[in-house]
């Protein structure tokens, strides 16, 4: 009996030793993979930064790899003289602020109404919204409808195109349902509190977390949206930054001072530097607010994960 016990101990020791080795290999591979991940994600971003302030000829010859060389800020100077970028920025700012505000005004009350357990029609109304997540009329009928509404080529269409997003509606509803106890409403209504009043003075102050998440989702959508501008607008004066970027970066439209792709030679290389600088100028605002909002969007994904 004693012998057998001893055997087990020895066996276990052997096993633990073997385990330690495989664990060490495991942890080393985790470390290596995580560093690899880090580099793969970060390097393209880093490259754009160093390319935007380096001599473009050296960038094109592949000499700029890890650190900027022959630093110059020509690209940035060009951008701040270009009226198109400024117009685009101004328009995008209007669409982001105004659009997000409208989104919230429509989404939050609807989410509140759908979160009421004693609201009889709520399942039917929910189905009315959810169905549109999985089925749509398609591009052409939508275009025709917007044309009938007289919104083609107006700034309004970019403000109201996605006035309410069903997914965002669902997560807001779920949040209100799960965090604000219905007893609170029942006792408030006994004291004569209406839905409007309860929503305004109790629900909204208690929903700061979901409001930030929703604002973030909607704002990022408006900031990045170029599809709706492409389809529904053609007037350069009302187009958002993303459309301006598309013209400059992807369609190689000439820059304000005439340094377009056509002239070749020195002009071409400066045009390239301008491109890198444009990428940075258009992305930096989002990246600047990003560290402050990170905790909110992690929270948002969590709330979204609790399905309605």
């Amino acid at each position: 009996m004693a012998n057998k016990n001893e055997m087990t101990v020895v066996n276990n020791k052997y096993r633990i030793k073997e385990r330690d080795l495989s664990d060490r290999i495991f942890h080393i591979s985790v470390l290596v993979l995580s560093i690899l991940c880090f580099i793969v994600i970060l390097y393209p971003l880093w490259f754009v930064v160093i390319a935007s302030i380096s001599n473009s000829d050296m960038v094109n010859r592949g000499e700029v790899v890890f650190w900027p060389k022959d630093i110059r800020f020509y690209g940035f100077q060009q951008i701040f003289q270009d009226a198109r970028i400024l117009t685009g920025y101004k328009n995008t700012l209007i669409y982001v602020v105004g659009g997000t505000l409208l989104n919230m005004i429509v989404t939050m009350p609807a989410a509140y109404a759908l979160s009421r357990p004693d609201f009889k029609a709520r399942n039917k109304v929910m189905l009315y919204f959810v169905f549109t997540m999985y089925f749509s009329g398609g591009l052409v009928p939508t275009y025709m409808q917007i044309n009938n509404l007289g919104l083609i080529n107006t700034p309004w269409i970019l403000l109201v195109m996605v006035l309410i997003n069903t997914y965002n509606l669902i997560i807001a509803r779920t949040f209100i349902q799960n965090t604000i106890p219905n007893d609170l409403y029942e006792s408030a209504s006994l004291d004569g509190c209406s839905h409007f009043r309860f929503f305004w003075s109790i629900v909204l102050p208690l929903s700061k977390a979901i409001i930030s998440v929703e604002m973030l989702y909607y704002a990022v959508f408006h900031w990045n949206d170029y599809f709706n501008a492409l389809i529904y607008t053609s007037n350069n004066d009302i187009q958002p930054l993303q459309m301006v970027l598309r013209r400059i970066l992807l369609q190689n439209e000439a820059f304000a001072n005439g340094n377009g792709g056509v002239q070749g030679g020195y002009a071409q290389s400066s045009a390239d530097q301008v491109k890198y600088a444009v990428i940075i100028v258009s992305t930096v605002p989002i990246l600047c607010v990003y560290p402050f909002i990170q905790k909110y969007f992690e929270k948002g994904v969590m709330i979204g994960a609790v399905k309605g």
Partner: protein
């Protein structure tokens, strides 16, 4: 997506009039959303009848003559049918096959990191690309993978993954890899959040018990962490399958050029090109028919995968 009943409703029904009177404030709060959805989602669905009508400029979308399934058969018989369907399927399937496991692996890696500072740094970094707009992403691809002087295409050539004379942006066989690769780069971090959250719910005692039983780190991942992720994986997989024909228009459209068009024209870009062709008249009815066809196929996919998932795992979307 069925709502959870929090309280039992009174059995006695008091008629619609009573409910309206009781809930009128809630209806007012819902009104803007209901009107918007009606105008921008349901009216276009009604307008989808254009797929069965010949579009007549003078009569608008509800006035053309009925032609039955003419535009559907036109599409099925055209050369573009197989091209667009194949490209759409190839791009979607590659995105799912390669893009779906990436965030799971990333989440497991992040969850294993012991050093909290490094963990935080890595998390913050992998989320960043999600906030880059498609336009910027595609222009980054254009400069980083340029035929000559592109720093990443040079790197791939040096280590021998692609031949020396390869043009990653122009040659059509590389399109799908560029699309899928950049997609993984952009959304891997964001998609991993949900898995990381699921992993953080694992009971620490389970790890200790497994250690005592002699499980090594690999076994702990396979037998403890992976099973925790399965329900999340199933739900996300169903949602992905439901949009298998919905290859996002934005990125494909911007990555498209005359050289790779044969492999990059997907259904959504084809609909756009029918509606706003560079030459010739727009074919509104055909575009509507193609869009409607996609919608129906997607819907069918969603129902089928949901059904299978319910049978196999007991959890589904609806």
């Amino acid at each position: 997506m069925t709502a959870v009943h929090l309280s039992k409703r009174k059995k006695t029904s008091r008629g619609i009039g009573y409910d309206l009177k009781k809930d009128w404030q809630l209806w007012i709060m819902l009104l803007p959303a209901i009107v918007y959805i009606f105008l921008f989602c349901y009216m276009p669905m009604y307008g989808a009848q254009l797929a069965f009508r010949k579009y007549d400029f003078t009569k608008g979308i509800y006035g053309g003559d009925w032609v039955g399934f003419k535009y559907f058969t036109d599409y099925f018989n055209s050369a573009m049918f197989s091209t667009t369907l194949r490209n759409t399927f190839v791009i979607s399937l590659c995105s799912i096959v390669f893009g779906f496991p990436a965030p799971i692996v990333l989440a497991i890696i992040i969850n294993q990191i012991k050093n909290s500072k490094w963990k935080r740094t890595l998390q913050t970094t992998v989320y960043i690309p999600y906030f880059i707009s498609v336009v910027v992403l595609v222009s980054m691809l254009n400069v980083l993978f340029a035929k000559s002087g592109g720093v990443l295409s040079d790197f791939l050539k040096t280590i021998g993954i692609v031949p020396q004379n390869a043009n990653l942006l122009g040659q059509k066989q590389y399109f799908v890899w560029m699309y899928v690769g950049s997609g993984i780069w952009q959304s891997m971090g964001w998609n991993s959040i949900i898995y990381i959250a699921a992993l953080s719910s694992v009971d620490v005692q389970l790890y200790d018990a497994a250690k005592i039983d002699g499980a090594n780190a690999w076994q702990r991942v396979i037998h403890i962490e992976f099973p925790v992720l399965v329900p999340t994986i199933m739900i996300l997989l169903i949602m992905n399958m439901g949009s298998i024909l919905n290859v996002g228009f934005d990125k494909v459209f911007l990555m498209q050029n005359t050289l790779n068009k044969q492999n990059s024209e997907v259904i959504s870009t084809y609909v756009y090109h029918l509606m706003a062709p560079t030459t010739g008249a727009p074919q509104f009815s055909l575009a509507t028919a193609v869009g409607l066809f996609t919608n129906v196929v997607n819907f069918a996919f969603l129902i089928v995968t949901n059904y299978i998932s319910k049978r196999v795992t007991g959890s589904g979307l609806m």
